[in-house]
């Protein structure tokens, strides 16, 4: 059984490494991620949002729903911790 698990792990690892062969080079300016929306953000973020920090503009404005979801995740973590661990004083 352990041999089977080892084989499964190795096979998955080989597949993942094989998958990275097709990836664009790191920092390649012509990769799909860099030619689609990134130039739009870099050119328009300042004039559309008046925020010099493009990362914040993308996080809080263009991807506002995403950040709202992140905050909900953190809130849920706190609620789960309270429900699981907090005990009332006797």
């Amino acid at each position: 059984m352990k041999l089977l698990a080892l084989f499964a792990v190795c096979a998955t690892g080989v597949l993942l490494i094989y998958g990275t062969v097709d990836m664009p080079d790191w920092g390649d300016p012509h990769s799909p991620a860099s030619v689609h929306v990134s130039p739009r953000y870099i050119e328009k973020a300042m004039e559309e949002t008046a925020v010099p920090n493009i990362v914040t503009a993308v996080l809080a404005d263009y991807r506002g729903y995403d950040t709202l979801g992140e905050t909900v995740v953190i809130f849920t973590a706190a609620m789960a911790c309270i429900l699981l661990m907090r005990r009332r004083r006797k």
Partner: protein, 151 residues
């Protein structure tokens, strides 16, 4: 029950340091759209200052500064601020979280209104993250009792 070590040096240093840490946390939140930072980072710094208070003193001291009721209210308050700003934009005729609509009620043009909307939601995120950090730390450190010192 749990004895904790009263260390004069540690407590004095923390008492001097904590206000500066909190001011820095507020700076990181408020300046998040002009420099690296934002709600998440600033909220964690604010929460860490309270955790430092818990570590240097004990949980009762930290609870005197912020009770668990206030802390739990803050958990929700940040989220309410965030989604409330989204709802205000909706009421003003834009889509959800379209901050440029805030320019109709604020004396600024729609582009600057976006900047103000971003600041508003960063504040909301900061409040929630700070309260959540404190809440989780108190629960984990005292096995949910919130009574004794650290175990």
């Amino acid at each position: 029950m749990i004895s904790y070590l009263e260390d004069v040096i540690l407590q004095t240093v923390c008492r001097i340091l904590i206000p500066f840490i909190q001011v820095y946390g507020l700076y990181v939140i408020a300046h998040g759209h002009h420099s690296p930072g934002g709600g998440f980072q600033g909220g964690v710094i604010l929460g860490a200052s309270f955790i430092l208070l818990c570590v240097a003193y004990d949980i009762n001291e930290a609870k005197r500064r912020m009770t668990e009721k206030v802390d739990t209210v803050f958990c929700s308050l940040g989220l309410i601020i965030y989604s409330g700003i989204g709802l205000i934009c909706l009421v003003l005729g834009g889509s959800y979280l379209n901050y440029s609509r805030l320019g109709q009620v604020l004396p600024v043009n729609p582009v600057d209104a976006r900047s103000i909307g971003i600041l508003g939601i960063e504040i909301g995120v900061g409040i929630t993250v700070m309260a959540v950090m404190i809440s989780i730390f108190l629960d984990l450190a005292s096995r949910g009792e919130h009574e004794e010192g650290l175990e």
